[in-house]
């Protein structure tokens, strides 16, 4: 019983962090209809930067997100202006290939500059835990979860309560219509891409503590995150939240009661099953498809 509660609690904590990591990916897809395959590489890039900052200055990695978030926001803006905007109207495969190229470039740069080895930021509380009853919750996992909840709350506020957020949602639903009522689609898309990338600032900083990483870790991450947003419905933020919790719980439960070796396969099975059976995921909607464009 304790084992089950432990697995569930840990699953929720992991799921919360997953939700943060996936939120940017699903936001970008929702507005730009671009699957940013480089999202995992952005995370690893930011984790590497956080690790370096922590080692050089001793600043807490989770708090370092105050620095990394605006940096990643700016990085996202630049990437959008230089690369993504050029494949705006092209076939889906082209944007996937472009962002894949970007992911490889980041991996290659990290390979050359930092070397191909595992790293992990280990602040003082790294191996400590909160103990509640018979359950132990690792401190970094709890801090990461809290940071994730805070950022997701902020993201939700920005998207639903501010003009910028409304512009982003309008552009996601109908770029032409949004443009007609005075919302510049390109600027808004750039903003959405930058905000989506900014989430990798906090996400990458948390990752540097929670998950040992190396330059090629991004393949693993992008597969997990794709599993999450495909399950939730690509482009849906609430969907990403639910997908992240389901897969976080699925992962801890498989690891507890099944075998660790197969737990990573869960994500691929989810991707395949959802895309084949219910392409719109849990929260996606099907719209009228016969309207001529």
């Amino acid at each position: 019983m304790t084992e089950l509660v432990q697995a569930l609690a840990l699953g929720v904590l992991i799921g919360g962090v997953y939700a943060l990591l996936a939120s940017g990916l699903t936001l970008i897809f929702g507005v730009l209809h671009v699957v940013n395959v480089a999202h995992g590489a952005f995370l690893v890039l930011c984790a590497m930067f956080t690790w370096w900052l922590w080692r050089e200055t001793g600043v807490d990695p989770v708090l370092a997100s105050v620095v990394t978030t605006p940096l990643m926001f700016g990085f996202g803006l630049v990437v959008y202006r230089l690369l993504i905007v050029r494949v705006a109207g092209a076939a889906p495969a082209m944007s996937v290939l472009l962002t894949f190229g970007l992911a490889l470039t980041i991996e290659g740069v990290l390979n050359v500059t930092a070397g191909n080895k595992f790293r992990s930021a280990t602040p003082g509380y790294f191996s400590e835990s909160f103990r509640i009853g018979g359950i132990s919750l690792p401190k970094p996992q709890v801090y990461g979860f809290l940071a994730a909840v805070a950022v997701l709350g902020l993201l939700y506020y920005v998207l639903t309560r501010t003009w910028t957020g409304r512009a982003i949602r309008a552009t996601a639903q109908n770029p032409t219509g949004a443009a007609l009522v005075g919302v510049g689609a390109t600027a808004t898309a750039g903003l959405a891409f930058a905000i989506g990338t900014a989430t990798t600032g906090v996400g990458g900083s948390i990752m540097s503590v929670l998950y040992p990483f190396f330059p090629a870790s991004h393949y693993d991450w992008i597969s997990r995150l794709l599993g999450i947003i495909v399950l939730g419905g690509m482009g849906s933020l609430p969907g990403a939240l639910v997908g992240a919790l389901v897969l976080g719980l699925g992962e801890t439960l498989t690891a507890t009661y099944g075998s660790l070796r197969w737990s990573t396969l869960v994500f691929y099975v989810v991707i395949l099953a959802v895309l084949l059976v219910r392409k719109q995921g849990l929260f996606g909607t099907r719209l009228r498809e016969d309207v001529a464009l």
Binding site: L83, L97, G101, E107, V230, Y268, L276, K279, D290
Partner: protein, 615 residues
């Protein structure tokens, strides 16, 4: 002749090189890796270039072939070269099994699935240690031949395999199979509507593209003599394949070969001069991004386009006089017109519904089209007319209700089967295959679903003659060899009509045939419809040009809010208050002298000198 020499010379050089310089072992190795990459890129091109289904996980088939040879070698001692066809077979069988399901997804979903499949296979290869020896990998036996000839057998193995792959790719491109794949790439739903069995075409292309890579995989395993899951099912390998095909020009026969040699040599140069293999990822990443941004079409098509700009072909204009003056055309030269008079229902729609989310586009609609009529379907925008077309032709599945055609139920049939049965349609916004020439567009429809038809030559003499007749009929004969995308909107509408007629349909659904077509051609169009109708072809026409509808069609069915609200002769419909209310608006009055057309005069006069844009 020059073209042939251009192709033959490098191939002869490739074949002769090791014989002339037998001791350049290093160069042989680089070349044979380039040949291996070329095999993969040419194979990839069959599904991802011709059919446009971009796979980012294609090296899964290299791994499958390699592991087949490796496992067989360990357990039976079979030489990997002999196991190679089996490796191809394993890849082919798995590709077909997976493809039947996976190829139902498109765009983003398909790309993601191919990556997921590759990585999932890698995990299975690691975890199924009883079969694959897990992460420890498999060591194959060393080749028995003398070290003096080193890699020459591998070189020629890959060289011959590349020739076979190229021959297969060329054969596909020349057949209706290839035309169908390109049609799928350009517009899959449209391809299905003109009789292309898209499921079979895609699955066959996927299987074929897997087969040669599987065969190559066996040779690759033998060459490496060591296999492990991460190396064999490599995402970077997949990216290299895509990069090679993209650089050379996807969708072309030779582009992937050219691209493979460029990519392999560049990669080798980077390894030797650019700081070793750790920089290879960086190089591939930057190259991939640059190619997507600045050379998305690839080298070969870019050079071809440049050549065409230097040597332009004179563009001519619509042969208007020819179109208007073309003699009567006999379209049903296969089927005799049905015995006259007994007006049976050719198409029956019974209680059909279609919902999109909360919106009910078609609401338990009933509609009967009698054989031999020209039936009109009119109604306000959004009343569900086009959706009804989609349900009849199979582009969409109904949520409820039945569709019967010629005495059989068709609502469960895929679109291409309905095309084969004799239902043709045109689209509201033209949907030609823009990359194909006009003539290729017109011969693209497939009359039946037999393998023989699919593997026949793309354009045979009889078809070409017929296609030219039909193009002459719509006045576009001079455009036969132009890309369809370069035609004006109205011209494309006419080509689409010719394309539908190629199927020799018994029922033609026209979706706003007069929209965007100039008035004299509208007259021509009406005349054509009457002529075909006299030969036994039945029509169902959606059109907003009411004078044209009232003059051409009988009966007229009025649609509103997803269901038929009235049906009758034009004279009855134009005075039906419910229709006027639903469609024409409250302030519309029945025309007296104002429009100048009365249905009687129009049908009697056959379009002689009436108001602009009417019949």
């Amino acid at each position: 002749m020059r073209r042939r020499a251009l192709v033959a010379a490098p191939l002869v050089a490739l074949a002769a090189y090791p014989a002339i310089r037998p001791y350049d072992t290093y160069q042989h190795t680089v070349m044979l890796l380039a040949l291996l990459l070329a095999i993969q890129a040419v194979s990839w091109n069959i599904i991802s270039g011709y059919a446009g289904y971009v796979s980012l996980g294609h090296s899964v088939f290299l791994g499958l072939g390699a592991y087949t040879a490796g496992i067989l070698g360990v357990h039976t001692g079979l030489n990997p070269f002999l196991a190679a066809p089996l490796g191809g077979l394993v890849a082919l069988v798995l590709a077909v099994a997976v493809g039947v399901v996976v190829l139902r997804t498109r765009g983003h979903a398909f790309v993601i699935i191919t990556i997921a499949l590759l990585l999932a296979t890698q995990i299975m290869a690691i975890n199924w240690a009883w079969l694959t020896n897990g992460s420890d990998g498999i060591t194959l036996s060393l080749p028995p031949w003398s070290r003096d000839i080193a890699n020459l057998p591998f070189y020629y193995f890959f060289f011959v395999l590349l020739l076979l792959t190229l021959a297969a790719s060329a054969a596909v491109r020349r057949s209706k199979f290839g035309t169908g794949l390109v049609a799928i790439r350009e517009d899959e739903d449209k391809a299905a509507a003109i009789g292309v069995n898209t499921t079979r075409f895609k699955t066959a292309a996927f299987g074929l593209s897997a087969f040669f890579i599987g065969v190559a995989g066996a040779g690759y395993a033998y060459f490496l003599t060591f296999l492990n899951p991460v190396g064999a099912f490599s995402i970077l390998g997949s990216v290299t394949i895509v990069l090679a095909a993209l650089v050379g020009g996807r969708g072309t026969l030779w582009g992937p070969v050219i691209g493979a040699f460029i990519v392999q040599f560049a990669s080798e140069a980077a390894t030797v001069y650019g700081g070793g293999s750790s920089s290879r990822v960086l190089l591939f990443g930057v190259a991939l991004a640059l190619v997507v941004l600045f050379l998305p079409a690839g080298l070969l098509p870019t050079v071809q386009a440049w050549w065409l700009r230097r040597h332009p072909v004179a563009v001519e204009y619509t042969d208007h006089a020819g179109a208007l003056g073309a003699g009567p055309v006999v379209v049903t030269d296969r089927r005799p017109p049905p015995a006259a008079a007994p007006r049976q229902a050719l198409l029956e729609v019974r209680g059909v519904s279609k919902r999109f989310g909360g919106l009910t586009a078609v609401d338990s609609a009933d509609l009967t089209v009698l054989a031999g009529t020209v039936t009109a379907l009119i109604g306000p925008n959004g009343s569900g007319k086009t959706t009804l077309f989609n349900l009849v032709t199979g582009a969409m599945r109904a949520d409820a209700g039945q569709v019967w055609y010629d005495g059989r139920r068709i609502d469960k049939l895929p679109p291409w089967r309905r095309g084969h049965l004799g239902i043709g349609r045109t689209f509201q916004v033209t949907r030609l295959f823009r990359g194909m020439t006009v003539l290729e567009n017109v011969v693209a429809p497939l009359p039946d679903g037999r393998w023989r038809t699919m593997l026949a030559g793309a354009v045979n003499g009889h078809e070409a003659d017929r296609a030219r007749d039909l193009l002459g009929l719509v006045g576009l004969n001079r455009f036969a060899d132009q890309p369809a995308g370069s035609l004006s909107y109205g011209q494309q509408k006419l080509v689409e009509l010719a394309q539908v007629l190629m199927l020799e349909p018994r029922l033609i659904l026209l979706d706003e045939p007069a929209g965007g077509v100039n008035p004299s051609l509208v007259d021509k169009l009406c005349g054509l419809v009457r002529e075909l109708n006299a030969q036994g072809v039945t029509f169902l026409v959606v059109e907003h040009n009411i004078p044209m509808v009232l003059g051409l069609c009988d009966p007229v069915v009025v649609f509103s809010r997803g269901t038929a609200i009235a049906q009758g002769a034009p004279a009855v419909i134009r005075n039906d208050p419910a229709v006027l209310d639903a469609y024409l608006g409250d302030d519309w009055r029945p025309p007296g002298a104002s429009s100048g057309v009365s249905p009687g005069a129009a049908s009697a006069g056959g379009g002689a000198a009436t108001a602009v844009g009417t019949c």
